[in-house]
């Protein structure tokens, strides 16, 4: 096996005495996130006593730990040893999530199309043709931050927030997409709504997609949305998985 070129070591930033930020960069890039996810998997597998929980983000891994059981120095040494070891391959899924771009849900499609100089149909084709990566969750349970938004349909945030959106919508701004789980006012632009729930207490597994998994959106019409929404309400998972 050929060793990859030496990578710059991560920065270790203290977030108090019980959380350590292992930072691999300060930008949104798949290569940085790959390192985050490789360390996430390796550290979870090593499971040193005193490790509490791991939070992968775009560019860093937050390691929550109990310093009375796992001193900072030992944690850093363990991380450096795992980081320099040959990279583990992490298995990820590709999820297909139904998305209704009907004007009722894709409220800002017209504005996006006009702004970027494309037809609405082309915006939908580009958005549903791309493959996204789940970079992290945050803000609320199942609230999902995606990378891989098509550059052709990128636009800045709104000047002023819009009134609360329905839950389970996909929105975009500044080259990113998010799938929401709650109703909230927002500075992002609405593309569509999914009948799927990224978080649901009605299912055995409240969450189905892991950080690092890939996502594609499958355009569905309004009638399919209603039919799928009824199945979701009964606790069914409608997103479909394939190995990424």
């Amino acid at each position: 096996m050929q060793l990859p070129p030496a990578l710059p070591p991560p920065r270790f930033l203290d977030a108090g005495e019980a959380a350590l930020v292992v930072e691999f960069g300060d930008t949104i890039e798949p290569a940085i996130h790959d390192r985050v996810m490789a360390l996430d998997a390796a550290l979870a597998a090593a499971a040193p006593p005193g490790l509490v929980e791991l939070v992968p983000t775009y560019r860093s891994l937050m390691v929550h730990y109990d310093p009375l059981r796992l001193p900072r120095g030992e944690l850093v040494a363990a991380i450096l040893a795992l980081e320099t070891a040959p990279k583990r391959s992490v298995a990820h899924n590709l999820w297909t999530i139904p998305m209704c771009y009907d004007p009722e849900f894709g409220e800002d499609l017209g504005f996006i199309a006009k702004t970027v100089g494309l037809t609405e149909a082309r915006v939908v084709a580009l958005h549903s043709g791309a493959t996204y990566r789940i970079y992290m969750y945050g803000f609320a349970p199942g609230f999902c931050y995606l990378g891989g938004h098509p550059p052709e349909i990128t636009l800045p945030r709104r000047q002023a927030p819009r009134p609360p959106t329905p839950p389970n919508v996909v929105m975009t701004a500044a080259g990113m997409s998010i799938i929401t789980t709650i109703s909230m006012p927002t500075g992002w632009w609405l593309l569509g709504r999914t009948p799927e729930r990224m978080f649901s207490t009605a299912r055995d597994r409240s969450f189905f997609a892991e950080v690092g998994d890939s996502v594609r959106f499958e355009a569905i019409d309004r009638a399919s949305f209603d039919a799928l929404e009824a199945r979701v309400a009964r606790g069914e998972l409608i997103a479909r998985a394939a190995p990424a």
Partner: protein
């Protein structure tokens, strides 16, 4: 009839909390759990419960409960709250048996913002993701994911009584002045120059009334960024102090989001998060910058305090509460609701 606690009255903000929900931050599920974990653990220790057992976190809105169906021991610890049962004023850190029909009232007193009411029983509610902690913002955990209200009944399993009279519980570690809160710098202290970090430490700060279990807004000097106010989102630890673009810092508390995009100038050390949570709106405090070793030593001292059995002495002073005396002169029900 099974043993239960009935809520007779509750001001806003009281919830069921335990030691918090662990393992789901990566999916955006906050830890929640007691705001003041040391006080919460102390109340449990007074009953020989596991330290992270679920109890009631009582806000400054206060609460009044009554035991039903059988006797159960309870304990209170936290701020200096006014605690009374059937006209008997009790110490602020106390344990006692509640017999069926006996009322206990817990109201904001001379200081502090939270009081923990522990029960010598399991609160019979479904665990969500391994915890009974309530997160009202997402409607999860506790009783229907919401604050407690008059009329709620918490069923208790395995209720135990102690069989002795009310006892003052000695927990000197809860005497924590709130005028100095210790922090470790970072993770993004490099977004601020040395002068701003000194201003941040000196304050003086007060907690804005626009604060909740998610975040405390800190009123004081505006803190300027040297390198901009936006970062690519990363993890947020409990106690992190974010500085958004307007320069008004936010201390991220028990219900914080798991990730966020503002620079975090410093992080309140674990042992001082409870102390900060007990600071009332308007009271002045400053920050003291310490290193990780100092923070770990403080954490070790806290663990040592909670390691052993707790000392308790029977309450001897019989002082009638003003509420009880007043009630003798009022038409029954005039103060209800």
């Amino acid at each position: 009839m099974n043993v239960a606690l009935r809520i007779l009255s509750a001001g806003p903000g009281s919830t069921v909390q335990d030691g918090g929900r662990t393992g789901y931050l990566r999916f955006g599920v906050t830890n929640a759990g007691a705001m003041d974990r040391l006080a919460h653990a102390t109340a449990n220790l007074a009953l020989a419960n596991t330290l992270d057992a679920a109890g009631i976190e009582v806000s400054m809105g206060g609460i009044e409960v009554v035991a039903e169906g059988g006797a159960v021991a309870v304990a209170c610890a936290g701020g200096i709250f006014d605690i009374a049962t059937e006209g008997l004023k009790l110490p602020e850190t106390v344990r006692l048996d509640l017999v069926p029909g006996q009322k206990l009232s817990v109201r904001a007193g001379a200081g502090g913002a939270w009081c923990y009411l522990a029960v010598a029983a399991e609160i019979a509610l479904p665990r969500y993701l391994g915890s009974l902690s309530t997160h009202t913002r997402s409607g999860l955990g506790g009783l229907e994911g919401r604050m407690l209200e008059a009329g709620d009944v918490l069923a208790l399993e395995g209720a135990r009584a102690i069989g002795t009279s009310a006892a003052r519980v000695f927990a000197p570690w809860l005497e924590r002045p709130g005028d100095v809160i210790r922090v470790v710098l970072g993770p993004q202290d490099d977004f601020f120059d040395a002068g701003e970090i000194a201003r941040f430490a000196a304050g003086p700060w007060t907690i804005s009334p626009r604060s909740d279990r998610m975040a405390f807004r800190l009123d004081g000097p505006r803190i300027k960024h040297a390198r901009g106010a936006d970062i690519v989102s990363d993890g947020i630890a409990r106690g992190a102090i974010q500085v958004p673009g307007d320069g008004q810092p936010l201390a991220m508390m028990a219900d914080r989001g798991s990730t966020g995009g503002y620079p975090k100038i410093a992080t309140v050390i674990g042992p001082d998060i409870g102390r900060l949570s007990q600071v009332r709106a308007g009271a002045k405090f400053r920050f003291e910058i310490v290193d990780v070793e100092t923070a770990v030593a403080a954490r070790r001292a806290e663990a040592a305090a909670l390691a052993g059995p707790i000392r308790a002495e029977p309450v001897v002073r019989r002082e009638f509460s003003s509420e009880f005396l007043l009630a003798r002169n009022l038409i029954d029900g005039a103060v209800a609701g």
